[in-house]
């Protein structure tokens, strides 16, 4: 039996925890707003943005191309297997291209960027926090948000859509390799079914998704690193949380965005 005092304490505890969560969400959102506000204020740190583009974009290209080509190949294999039952292998191209452009390209490329660049972002910023380099920056009157966070957000916003575009094109080509070269679908019907099925709306939806995924990755990963606990264990936990939270957010946000865009 709960005494009334005990149940009161329980209710207070629930309220307390809810308030902490809501406050955490507000904290995270304000962090994003501040970082974005610092983008528009001089001094502009173009060399930092260049470095981030190199790190998030160029260095992720290899892994993105690798995953893209295998995704396209397996899609063609699966699609061929299902479509040949109805004798409509000619639609293979549109099946591969539409699933690439609308869904798999943005989501898989964003997950790869999270795993490769996002985790590194959290670790880098977290170590700077623990070794007090962020405080050192502030002492030198360099705003750490502007110097560290804003270039990463800009870098991700530019790099992720470009990576997704590369992913789409390479994936469609991977589907061509398996579908046409290996399974013997006619090359002409592969490309013409792509061209007749894909519309500007599909491409536009994919771009919109990839931009928002870029924002989610840089936001979550930078936040978790910037406010890490001051221990090596805390930094490990922060990195894990960053990768898990941004992956989950990408998938959840993808559902809502798709339902709005359809």
């Amino acid at each position: 039996m709960f005494s009334s005092v005990n149940s009161m304490e329980w209710i207070i505890g629930v309220g307390e925890r809810t308030l902490v969560r809501v406050q955490g969400m507000g904290h995270m959102f304000l962090f994003l707003l501040r970082a974005i506000a610092w983008v528009f204020r001089p001094p502009f740190r173009f060399d930092q943005i260049l470095k981030q583009l190199h790190f998030i974009g160029f260095k992720s290209t290899f892994v993105v191309v690798l995953t893209a080509i295998f995704t396209g190949m397996v899609l063609a294999l699966q699609g061929y297997y299902s479509l040949q039952k109805f004798g409509s292998e000619g639609l293979l191209g549109s099946a591969v291209a539409l699933s690439m452009i609308r869904e798999l390209g943005p989501v898989l490329a964003a997950l790869m960027v999270t795993a490769r660049a996002g985790s590194a972002m959290t670790a880098e910023i977290g170590i700077m926090r623990i070794t007090e380099q962020i405080d050192a920056l502030e002492t030198m009157a360099i705003n750490s948000l502007q110097y560290l966070i804003s270039p990463k957000i800009i870098g991700a916003l530019v790099a992720v859509p470009l990576l997704v575009a590369i992913f789409d094109v390479v994936g469609i080509y991977g589907g061509y390799l398996v579908g046409v070269k290996l399974l013997g679908v006619s090359g002409g019907s592969y490309w013409s079914s792509i061209e007749s099925a894909v519309e500007w709306r599909d491409v536009y939806g994919g771009i919109l998704k990839s931009v928002s995924f870029g924002l989610i990755i840089s936001w979550v990963c930078c936040y978790k690193g910037y406010y890490t606990k001051m221990s090596s264990e805390g930094l490990g936990k922060a990195t894990t949380e960053a990768v898990v939270l941004s992956s989950v957010l990408i998938l959840v946000w993808d559902y809502f965005l798709t339902s709005v865009l359809l």
Partner: protein
């Protein structure tokens, strides 16, 4: 080092934008500055199944695309985009056809020959709406197909 960094980023951005451009312009058929089309109108009693962006063909060769479909006086008014250089005349016939039995709908134009050349904004007078497959089947079942 700085130079190699810039080269790498430049390469990445160029490849990325090339891919984006390919997706948007070749596959997404995004037309920068209006494209190479002139537009004429055609009125149908039904355009059921025809979609904006569907191909327009003369003799099986694609010469344009459907730009838009809207309701006008309880008739479907279709805006047809035809490539410059393909001349269509006032006695042209526009018909809605289906590729295969369950394929996509498209518009077949027979360009005509006599009469005046159509100018942008003119209307194609002779039109044929698509065949309603279900109606044909039900007529066949009830035994009064011609």
């Amino acid at each position: 080092m700085e130079r190699r960094l810039e080269l790498a980023v430049g390469l990445f951005v160029i490849v990325g934008i090339a891919c984006l451009g390919y997706l948007a312009i070749k596959l997404g058929k995004l037309e920068l500055v209006g494209g190479d089309y002139y537009e004429v109108q055609a009125e149908f009693s039904s355009t059921s199944g025809l979609k904006s962006g569907a191909p327009v063909e003369i003799a099986g060769v694609q010469v344009g695309r459907i730009k838009g479909i809207r309701l006008h006086d309880y008739q479907a008014s279709v805006t047809v985009g035809i490539q410059h250089g393909v001349q269509v005349y006032s006695d042209a016939i526009a018909s809605i056809k289906t590729r295969g039995i369950i394929g996509e709908k498209f518009m077949e134009l027979s360009p005509g020959g006599s009469g005046e050349a159509l100018r942008p904004g003119d209307t194609i007078q002779d039109t044929e709406s698509g065949i309603d497959l279900e109606q044909v089947i039900s007529q066949f079942i009830h035994g009064n197909v011609e």
